[in-house]
């Protein structure tokens, strides 16, 4: 009897079929599917609004648009001097850095505080500063009118009753210091290393330093 049972367990070929094969299948499947499948991914964090909210470059525009008080309290006392260079008294916060254009009354109307200076005695409204800028920067203003200079929002396809939002000169440039300044920058990407190359693995990595060194001339 015992001889017979032994025979059933270890008959030729039977051992493979009944013990090793299912065992191997189980092991293979376990190794295939039970591995550490969850990568270590941090929880998503919402984006900060200042990284993506549309805004013009000149955040301080409000500072200069409204001066408190009545202009004529001061300006009626003083005889306007066409050669005045440095903004004085109440205008001390204004830093004039407009190249060779360094006279207040080149742009501001000498008698009328609510308007800008046009040709001769004419006046230009504060609502249309581009007319004043065009007196010197005609080519840029022409580009701006064609839409190739400056920030434009709204749409490329102008539908009936719609018009693109076209920002005027002083909404981006400070007229007293027109060189473009912005100062809000968004952080560097934090892609996982495996999806995209990183430039700076560490600051003292020689390869990285070689590739990103600004002083090297490499062609």
């Amino acid at each position: 009897m015992g001889n017979k049972e032994k025979k059933t367990f270890f008959a030729e070929g039977e051992f493979w079929k009944k013990v090793l094969l299912p065992g191997a299948v189980i092991l293979i499947l376990i190794f295939l599917f039970m591995g550490d499948s969850k990568p270590n991914i941090p929880d998503p964090v919402p984006l900060k609004q200042k990284w993506y909210k549309p805004e013009t470059a000149r955040g301080e525009i409000l500072k200069n648009t409204v001066m408190p008080g009545n202009c004529f309290i001061c300006h009626s006392l003083q005889v306007p001097d066409p050669n005045v260079i440095r903004p004085q008294f109440a205008h001390g916060t204004i830093k004039l850095d407009h190249g060779a254009n360094n006279r207040c009354y080149n742009c501001h109307h000498i008698y009328d505080r609510d308007n800008l200076a046009g040709d001769g005695e004419t006046k230009i409204s504060f609502a249309t500063p581009e007319k004043l800028c065009a007196r010197c920067h005609g080519i840029i203003v022409k580009d701006w009118m064609e839409g190739t200079h400056g920030l434009r929002q709204g749409g490329w396809l102008v539908k009936d009753g719609q018009s693109p939002v076209n920002y005027t000169c002083t909404q981006c440039h400070d007229p007293h210091s027109p060189k473009f300044k912005y100062g809000i920058a968004a952080p560097a990407p934090t892609w996982p290393d495996k999806t995209i190359r990183k430039d700076r693995h560490s600051d003292d990595d020689p390869t990285s330093a070689y590739l990103t060194d600004s002083n090297q001339e490499r062609f």
């Binding site: 059933t8 008959a11 009944k18 299912p22 299948v25 189980i26 499947l29 376990i30 295939l32 599917f33 039970m34 499948s37 990568p39 991914i41 941090p42 929880d43 998503p44 964090v45 919402p46 984006l47 990284w51 993506y52 549309p54 805004e55 013009t56 470059a57 064609e146 839409g147 190739t148 400056g150 920030l151 434009r152 709204g154 749409g155 490329w156 396809l157 539908k159 920002y167 981006c172 473009f180 912005y182 809000i184 920058a185 968004a186 560097a188 990407p189 934090t190 892609w191 996982p192 495996k194 999806t195 995209i196 430039d199 700076r200 590739l211 990103t212 600004s214 090297q216 490499r218 062609f219």
Partner: protein, 316 residues
């Protein structure tokens, strides 16, 4: 052998030489196998993404009728509602006749502030973790365009520097896109207005297109894209910014859900310097056309012959 003998053989447990496999071993083997299958398939119970039956049998985008699309969009909206609790609307604006989109970027004005990158993430429902971004801003030393020494992960304090210029690179929407040639399942193709799109439900995730793109413009979802529910942009396009799945390819689509309605893409509207210009290449009065006619423009990696519709210039 008589019928009775045969019956005896079958019922006799000990005699197995002729019946092959006994009931006991058959049951034991079956139990083993089913246990193994259950154990090995158990991770599927908490799998990150399992497509529904309708997802599974959905046809290729180009074979869908209008009714099919309506059904599919309703199903996807329900899925988004369930997942994020957001009432999204999925639209599919068709290409406009006589329109070919082009982009011009004035490198003389770009300050590398990366606002376009994050506006794109916000508009296109890109994964926040792991982070996906379509636009890479390359920082290069002035005087040469050396992509090899360019840095795209410079810290934010290095933006707006006078010694460098900044070159944002995203999908160039080539006229001869190499990425669509290599796709084995035709899950990516060029639309009539020149935009190269991906059907996220048809993509098999082989990443051939990512390898074929000379600009590294395509992004692959290795992990399940994660977006906080309050960051979801509910205005979605089927071919553009609806939430993606794990294991599919995605890319910039010029915000086609916006631009095909006549709006500007998100990256353009947010640029504080106005260095980005977008428009219809076939309209002689459009901004891009005027710049291309008046300024010296160039395309990135001209020598590879992809004929991009994304132009760079160093205009004032």
């Amino acid at each position: 052998m008589s019928a009775e003998e045969q019956k005896n053989l079958k019922t006799n447990d000990s005699d197995q030489q002729e019946s092959g496999i006994s009931r006991r071993y058959f049951l034991a083997g079956t139990a083993c196998l089913s246990a193994a299958a259950a154990v090995s398939l158990s991770p599927l119970l908490n799998a990150e993404e399992v497509p529904s039956g309708d997802d599974f049998i959905q046809k290729h985008y180009k074979e869908l009728t209008t009714e099919d699309k309506k059904e599919i969009f309703a199903r996807l909206e329900a899925q988004i509602k369930e997942k994020y609790d957001v009432d999204a609307t999925i639209s599919d604006p068709p290409p406009i006749d006589g329109v070919e989109f082009a982009y011009v970027l004035n490198l003389g004005r770009c300050i590398g502030c990366r606002k376009c990158v994050y506006a794109c993430m916000d508009e296109n429902n890109q994964s926040r973790s792991p982070q996906k971004q379509y636009i890479r801003v390359l920082k290069m030393k002035k005087g040469t365009i050396n992509l090899e020494s360019a840095s795209h992960d410079y810290p934010e304090k290095e933006a707006e520097s006078d010694d460098f210029f900044y070159m944002p690179v995203a999908c160039q929407q080539c006229r001869e896109p190499k990425c669509i040639e290599v796709c084995p399942v035709k899950a990516t193709w060029q639309e009539k207005d020149g935009i190269v799109v991906v059907d996220y439900n048809w993509c098999i995730g082989c990443r051939y297109c990512e390898a074929a793109c000379p600009y590294h413009a395509r992004r692959f979802n290795f992990a399940k894209p994660q977006i906080p529910a309050q960051d979801i942009n509910p205005d979605m396009g089927y071919l553009s910014n609806r939430p993606r799945y794990m294991g599919v390819m995605e890319k910039c689509t010029f915000c086609l859900h916006k631009t095909r309605r006549g709006e500007y893409p998100a990256c353009m509207e947010v640029c504080p310097t106005g260095s980005r210009k977008f428009g219809n290449l076939r309209d002689p009065k459009s901004e891009v056309r005027i710049i291309i006619e008046q300024e010296r423009v160039f395309v990135l990696k001209q020598e590879v012959g992809t004929l991009p519709k994304f132009y760079y210039t160093f205009a004032k």
